[in-house]
């Protein structure tokens, strides 16, 4: 499943969703708001998304991940809005028969999310505020 939410991400619910007796490995990745970036102290962040396109790109990542690894369950959840230190901004969970593919698939999903999903984050610090330097996404030929 994929989801874009402005509420706190329910990591327990995500893990419950991974339950599948055909699997022997569950890997959960959480991206959290850190208190520093490039020598600055970060106090909080704002996340913004191009909603329809972000969901479409997250679904595409889900499809590609399931096609490349023997994944039985996958969840990709990204939060938008105002986030505080320690808040979970993104969760990626996969369940598969063995741990090798679970780790690889989870890594692939989050790495691909960061370079393809239209979401932007802004950092706030005592020194000021600024949009985090981003990545120019690849244009994939269809």
């Amino acid at each position: 499943m994929v989801e874009l939410t402005d509420k706190a991400i329910d990591t327990q619910a995500i893990l419950v969703g991974m339950a599948d007796h055909s699997t022997g490995a569950v890997v959960l990745f959480l991206g959290t708001v850190r208190d520093h970036a490039e020598g600055k102290t970060v106090t909080h962040m704002d996340y913004e998304a191009y909603t329809d396109m972000a969901i479409a790109k997250m679904k595409a990542i889900e499809t590609e991940t399931v096609a490349r690894w023997p994944i039985r369950q996958i969840a990709i959840v990204h939060r938008i809005g105002a986030l505080q230190l320690g808040d979970v901004s993104v969760a990626v969970a996969v369940a598969s028969p063995h741990r090798g593919e679970a780790f690889e698939a989870c890594r692939f999903a989050i790495d691909t999310l960061k370079k393809s999903v239209p979401i932007w984050k802004k950092e706030y610090s005592p020194e000021g505020e600024g949009w985090v330097e981003g990545i120019i996404p690849e244009i994939r030929e269809k």
Partner: protein, 81 residues
């Protein structure tokens, strides 16, 4: 033709614009649109150089010709995750 342009992130903040209906000649491409936006919002010219363009939820090359009714996203470098 008429297209709907959506602004995001730093570009939205800089132009104070979330969305804009733009009239273009019928064979205009994304580069033509970027030129129009740059003229309308001169301070955004530098950022537009590194801004990606989407048409109906897909990233496209800037030479891509637009169609009437397209939803075009102006997407600064992304930083999700």
């Amino acid at each position: 033709m008429r297209i709907e342009v959506l602004f995001f992130g730093q570009l939205r903040e800089m132009t104070n614009c979330q969305n804009l209906a733009v009239e273009l000649k019928s064979d205009a491409n994304a580069l033509d649109l970027l030129r129009v936006i740059s003229q309308r919002f001169p301070a955004s010219a530098g950022l537009l150089e590194v801004t990606s363009v989407s048409i109906n939820n897909e990233y496209v090359a800037k030479e891509t010709v637009l169609s009437d009714g397209d939803e075009v996203g102006l997407l600064p470098p992304i930083s999700g995750g």
